[in-house]
Assembly symmetry: C2
Homo-oligomer: 351 residues x 2
């Protein structure tokens, strides 16, 4: 029952990274047994299992990812697919942090897969699926009829979308309730006497634009206020363009006395446009804006804000993908984040 004292490479040198072979040599078992012992397979004796796991921990064994991936196809990778051509996506870092928070104590790595405006958004997803580069995918800028979601559903690769689709297909998602945001914003503005409201919408084509517009419109008729069309720009436009269009709008006779803005950076532009037109925030017009970090109140204390937590979104999305990979029902991995109340300025400090 003697073991050969030195296999070609399992000698005494402690410098190499330990493998199953190393463990097998040290415990006097076969690599198969070691492999199974480490993953709690049923046909391994209780003591053997404990012994192997102890030794593995002692010498800091870590499975070789390439070996596992080659053999099983499991990559232990989650890919976050991002559009890199949009100017002020400061929330991207929050999403990333949220994702990493969740996968921190799993074997998963996060890879960032970019695509630019010029590309078909399907390209990066197709690449990931064809090359089998990830076990799960997170996409954003979700559309009602999203080819990426359809494609991944067909191929059977787990994914989660930031934002919902509307194709009658079920898949995990996380979304912020933009319908609630927009309608609450309108109600709040109506509550402080604003009657002629304009909406700066999310980009055309994305699902949450529809939600936002619906919430806005429904609440308008509910409170009996009217809409001042502001359709020439979206939050995807440049700061300069939004500013210019806002100024133009505010110089007209029938200008709005309230704005609802779907993004903090765009709100800066709206306010600049308002002031370009010689009007004053809080007196001539009020603005309700979403924000992802609590900075707008420093900008103008008259602003009304609603917070959207992208770190939470990242965590929820990661949890959803991992859940799907782990065999849960896609339909059970959907979450909607409710907005808090519209917040006016209040500073706890001096004055």
């Amino acid at each position: 029952m003697d073991r050969r004292a030195s296999e070609k490479d399992d000698d005494t040198s402690a410098k190499e990274r330990p493998t199953l072979k190393t463990l097998a040599f040290m415990t006097g078992l076969g690599v198969t047994t070691v492999s199974r012992a480490l993953k709690d397979a049923p046909e391994i004796g209780a003591e053997t299992r404990r012994r192997v796991q102890l030794v593995a921990k002692q010498i800091g064994y870590r499975p070789n990812r390439a070996g596992v991936r080659l053999r099983t196809g499991k990559t232990n990778v989650i890919s976050l697919v991002l559009n890199t051509e949009h100017e002020l996506m400061s929330f991207v870092s929050d999403i990333i942090y949220g994702v990493t928070e969740v996968i921190a104590d799993t074997p998963y790595h996060l890879i960032v897969t970019p695509y630019s405006r010029s590309q078909d958004p399907l390209d990066p997803v197709r690449y990931l699926v064809e090359t089998g580069s990830a076990d799960g995918v997170i996409i954003s800028r979700t559309q009602p009829n999203d080819p990426r979601a359809r494609y991944m559903l067909e191929r059977g690769i787990p994914f989660a979308t930031h934002g919902r689709t509307d194709m009658g297909l079920v898949h995990p998602y996380h979304d912020f309730d933009n319908y609630a945001f927009a309608s609450e914003a309108v109600r709040h503005l109506a509550g402080i006497g604003r009657r002629r409201l304009a909406l700066l919408t999310p980009p055309i084509g994305l699902t949450y634009r529809g939600h936002t517009v619906d919430g806005f419109t429904d609440a308008l008729s509910e409170v009996g206020a009217s809409e001042v069309p502001f359709n020439t720009v979206t939050i995807d436009h440049s700061i300069e363009q939004i500013r210019m269009r806002t100024a133009q709008l505010m110089r007209r006779e029938d200008r709005p006395d309230g704005f609802v803005s779907s993004a903090a950076a765009a709100t800066l532009a709206i306010v600049a446009g308002i002031e370009d037109a010689g009007l004053k925030l809080g007196r001539d017009v009020d603005v309700v804006s979403k924000q992802s970090s609590e900075l707008l109140h420093l900008f103008r204390r008259e602003l009304l804000v609603v917070n959207e937590n992208f770190r939470l979104a990242g965590s929820e999305l990661a949890r959803a993908v991992l859940g799907w990979i782990g065999g849960k029902e896609p339909g059970s991995l959907q979450s909607l984040s409710k907005p808090g109340e519209v917040q006016a300025y209040r500073h706890s400090g001096e004055k």
Copy 2:
């Protein structure tokens, strides 16, 4: 010379992803030959090479990453190591975009490796090196005597630092010239009559804090202005803390009439603090601030700004790591980005 018509898996099914074996079967060559033909090895006939490469392109062959990685140890991965516990790192997305821009037409993937405040910053780096998870690493929040750089230098793994070290060791880096920024800022303030200046510094311990302080101090004596100490906070502190400290400072007799701020978010807090104390920006005090996106002028047009381009930083860092991996001299992969001029507000639009 006949080839066996159907190897166990090289049959007619066109569904599986092509491998070298597939190519070998299609071209009638051995896998070794195919492998070499694809990487332009010298001992392959010119025509064979062309033929193999043509077929490979036709059927969309893509090398299996796990296979390559297992055999060669090459991961084709660059890791960006990030601290996830700092509040307003909006520039992180810019760095990521910069990196992805550069690695887009290489086989490299970008993985994001996080660590939190509670952890030793060396932990994630040690993990990457020990598990051989990346061919190259990018780190930020660089310190004069940085254990991470020293560690990676010892282990011989290519890396680049965002910011410089000061250990007498040579390695690739990219840095913004914060000495130039701070000294230019002081000169500009002096040029508009400000004589008592305060500096909101980068976090204690990071190399660029020293550069910033040096630039500030040197320029002070050059222009004959004096410093008002403002050492109780750094840009790592919370908005609320910076705001409070600024307000306290501005209520004192010997308050500064000029600020230099190393970060845009902190500048919002400084301005809020100034206004809390009942003073007015541009009249009682001027502020020069770095910013990474052009938003500060929308915030207060009296602000004086210097732009720092983090997307460029990301690109340069990626280029540096890839260069090192590719065999270039580490010493030749260092770059310093010069700040532009201090910019006062100018708006091209209406009024």
